[in-house]
């Protein structure tokens, strides 16, 4: 079976001003269907860079980044955009569009995918119900708490049946009680609906809740642990 995500000797070098910074120095990683993987590491370990590459937001300097067996480096702009539609992003700062309501934010991904408005509305309501926000769906982000915004972001990420959820510090900006609720939601999605989840975090406690932990340090995978 083809791994959903496979990184082979993945390298990424940034230019910070004129100084080249090696963010990834040869990462090897495999994520199978149904996995719940935590990428754990301190800041500067390259985990966010890895996340961007897995999410097809960026291209590697060298090495291979395969999503469902397709090398991301070989794709053009349009193909990358198509690929991103099949990936469910959840950003650290939620990244909701402030002028849209919760429902409209969830609908946006579907609208980008060209889905008609009636279908969008129904799916968005179903997804917001899944994340427990049906009552608040007509509120704008600034009327929602951090946890609620994160749920909206998760609902938006679940649109279009993504191949996997990609999460950047999913509990980084919410209190611990809400964080536990979110984690519960993620576990449920993973166990009941079989959603593959890859999350990046520096929080060991959170990482321990996943099925598998990849420890990163200085742009390399330093170790792997199955919970």
């Amino acid at each position: 079976m083809v791994a959903i995500v496979e990184a082979a000797n993945l390298k990424k070098t940034y230019l910070l001003g004129k100084v080249p910074v090696e963010a990834l120095r040869g990462v090897n990683l495999k994520v199978e269907n149904g996995d719940f993987l935590a990428v754990l590491g301190p800041s500067g370990s390259g985990k966010s860079t890895l996340l961007n590459l897995i999410g097809a937001l960026d291209k590697p300097t060298s090495g291979k980044m395969l999503i469902e067996g397709v090398d991301v480096s070989t794709l053009n702009d349009n193909q990358l955009a198509d690929l991103r539609r099949r990936i469910g992003f959840v950003f650290q700062f939620f990244n909701l569009i402030p002028r849209f309501t919760a429902r409209e934010n969830v609908e946006l991904s579907m609208s980008i995918a060209g889905i008609g408005s009636a279908e969008r509305r129904k799916q968005a309501e179903d997804l917001l119900e899944t994340v427990g926000l049906k009552e608040r769906m007509n509120h704008k982000p600034n009327e929602l708490s951090g946890g609620e915004q994160q749920r909206v972001a998760i609902a938006r990420a679940l649109v279009n049946n993504p191949r996997f959820l990609l999460m950047d510090e999913p509990t980084g900006n919410i209190d611990s009680k809400t964080a536990n609720e979110i984690l519960g939601l993620l576990k449920r999605l993973n166990e009941e609906k079989g959603v593959t989840i890859i999350m990046v975090t520096h929080d060991q406690g959170l990482a321990k809740q996943s099925k598998r932990i990849v420890q990163m340090l200085d742009g390399l995978v330093a170790g792997e642990l199955v919970n």
Binding site: G55, D77, A81, R84
Partner: protein, 425 residues
């Protein structure tokens, strides 16, 4: 992403910054309104003048006057020293395609009635022939234009009878008026005068032309010859058998040849075509000036779109992370400017139309151009004309300028890299 969704997304972004979008739109509104107002007024003016000329200047007539100059010089008189005489009509009448010709002797003089004095142009014509050429304008409103006029018969224009347009008449049918002319060639200059009898007041002609005018008085040609002491005429009006271009051209040439090219022959169609050319140039010039203001509006749009692009860099990053294609981002931004352009053009066309009508009203009421009581022509009425070409042109131009100036910011937005855009604070 469906086009409808793209536009609805663009519109949501515009709604977010209403004041800013409003001010940007205002730039387009002003530019388009200026273009529409100027074009519809000049078009209206051209239509009015053309219509006036066509009524007062029958299209199947030629104007023969002394002087070799071509075209409009006929109106100003020639300068060759060659003179036209009343009996030159006999020569002209023998030329092919000429159905009749009539001589006109014209002087500036005065009419006196009840102790009051008015400056008028005194025109000596054969009433019957004149009425047959200008059958729609040389028509009596009260009284009747006599077929066999007495020597003292006078026919007056509407503005001579009713100069103040308020029914306070200067003179009326059956009044006896004193007609005065100063013979400036006599030494010492001599005032000629005779008592006339008003047989008819003409109906209002309006505007201007070579034909009958509201501010003229008409006396029989024979009386004019004796009163002005000359058989030299100012112009000869030639009526042709039809108004085909070929007839006009060949007859014009034949008449010129008959007088050894010492005279000028002007046709109504030639004057109209010159006029139409002049108006085209004026329209082009005016719309050029108005277009500059639209250009400034375009730069405003570009400026605003660049600011908007910077503010929304992160949003663009989100959209791209959610799978929006670069060309869709481009369309979103172009859509915003197209909406601004469309709104601006629509409001601008409406505003320009209102403006044109207001200006026309001022023209009509005040008679800015021709309201001078001394000439007594009266206010000219302009009906602004908004042609479909101007309407569509303004719409396309407004949207076009907006979209063109948004191309660069939209292109920059579409080229943003998702990772960098998401990191943008």
């Amino acid at each position: 992403m469906k086009l409808g969704d793209v536009f609805s997304y663009s519109f949501s972004a515009i709604k977010l910054r209403k004041l800013r979008a409003g001010l940007t739109t205002l730039g387009v509104v002003i530019g388009i309104a200026a273009i529409v107002a100027l074009l519809s007024i000049t078009q209206g003016l051209q239509d009015t003048i053309t219509r006036e000329l066509q009524t007062g200047f029958a299209t199947d007539t030629l104007i023969v006057s002394s002087g070799r100059g071509a075209g409009l010089s006929a109106m100003g008189g020639g300068d060759s020293g060659f003179k036209l005489f009343v009996n030159d009509t006999q020569t002209i009448n023998e030329i092919e395609n000429v159905s009749m010709s009539l001589a006109i002797i014209q002087r500036v003089g005065y009419v006196q009635f009840g102790g009051k004095n008015r400056t008028v142009a005194i025109v000596g014509v054969d009433f019957v022939e004149y009425a047959s050429i200008y059958s729609s304008t040389f028509v009596a409103e009260s009284g009747a234009v006599p077929l066999n006029p007495e020597n003292d018969t006078v026919v007056v224009g509407k503005r001579v009878s009713d100069p103040w347009k308020n029914e306070t008449l200067f003179c009326n049918v059956n009044d006896g008026v004193e007609i005065l002319w100063t013979n400036g060639t006599a030494r010492p200059p001599k005032n000629e005068t005779y008592a006339g009898h008003v047989a008819a007041v003409l109906q209002e002609v309006g505007g201007f032309g070579i034909g009958p005018s509201d501010s003229y008085i008409y006396i029989p040609l024979s009386k004019a010859e004796s009163f002005f002491g000359t058989d030299e005429c100012d112009m000869i009006i030639v009526k042709l058998v039809n108004d085909d271009t070929a007839t006009i051209d060949s007859t014009s040439k034949a008449i010129r040849d008959a007088f050894d090219k010492q005279i000028s022959v002007t046709s109504a169609t030639a004057v109209l075509s010159i006029l139409s050319n002049v108006f085209s140039v004026i329209q082009l010039f005016l719309s050029g000036i108005a277009a500059i203001s639209l250009l400034v509006a375009g730069i405003g749009i570009m400026n605003i779109m660049i600011v908007s692009l910077m503010e929304r860099t992160r949003e663009i990053g989100i959209l791209k992370a959610l799978g929006m294609k670069s060309r869709t981002v481009l369309t979103v931004f172009l859509g915003e400017s197209a909406i601004i352009g469309l709104m601006g053009a629509a409001i601008g066309i409406a505003l320009g139309w209102v403006l044109a009508n207001v200006v026309a009203l001022v023209f009509h009421g005040g008679g800015i151009f021709f309201g001078n009581q001394a000439t007594g022509v009266g206010g000219i009425s302009i009906t602004p004309v908004l042609t479909p070409t101007v309407f569509l042109g303004a719409l396309i131009f407004g949207v076009g300028v907006s979209v063109i100036f948004a191309l660069y910011p939209a292109w920059r937005a579409s080229k943003l890299k998702p990772v960098e855009a998401l990191r943008y604070e």
